[in-house]
Amino acid sequence: MSRSQRVDSTGFNSLFREALSRWQEEVVQLDLVDPVTTEMVRLRCAEHHDCHT
């Protein structure tokens, strides 16, 4: 299995891309969970998704 990027992930529907960005921006601005826990979850999710960004 390749660990390199398989396709250009920026080259998809621009409306969808922008909407996903806005959704993520809104989610990270939620403040009911403390910052340390939030960051631990974020890093765990990044590892699970093999995300290096």
Partner: protein, 147 residues
């Protein structure tokens, strides 16, 4: 009348209207940028794997009944096209172990839909999966009922 998934999210998220709005936007767009029948099959397969009975029931009514009845045996069924099978294979791998999806699974879809179509499909799948996981967890937290 049964509360829809969108209505449930609005109720749980309360005054967080911008999050509600953006969650709705990405869900609507997920269906616009992909083949609805294929995404519907993948959504039903996700619901079956995650044990989301409300979505299994809901999606089961919207799709071809022959495909619905054969969905758990899609690899050996004659009711699915090669692309549908590729998408279902990818979906199962995505749900079970997203970091270990074989190249062949990804390339089979990319070769058919192209780079943009493939990325649209994967992002749509992500939206569907996240939304369903939220539904499962929040229903258990806030409703105490079987999902």
């Amino acid at each position: 009348m049964r509360e829809s998934t969108s209505e449930f999210f609005e109720r749980v998220l309360g005054g967080r209207t911008r999050v509600v709005k953006e969650l709705g936007n990405i869900h609507d767009l997920a269906w616009e940028v992909t083949d609805k029948e294929i995404l519907g099959l993948c959504k039903l397969r996700i619901a079956m794997i995650l044990g989301c009975e409300s979505e299994v029931k809901s999606m089961g009514k919207q799709l071809n009944s022959l495909k619905v009845s054969d969905l758990s045996q899609w690899p050996t069924s004659n009711h699915f096209s090669d692309l549908e099978k590729s998408c279902l294979r990818f979906t199962e791998e995505f749900i079970i172990d997203v970091a270990s999806i074989p190249d062949d699974s990804a390339f089979a879809i990319r070769d058919d839909l192209g780079d943009e179509g493939f990325v649209n499909f994967v992002n749509a799948l992500l939206v569907i999966e996240q939304r369903m996981r939220l539904l499962i967890v929040w229903q258990k937290m806030f409703e105490g009922v079987k999902v």
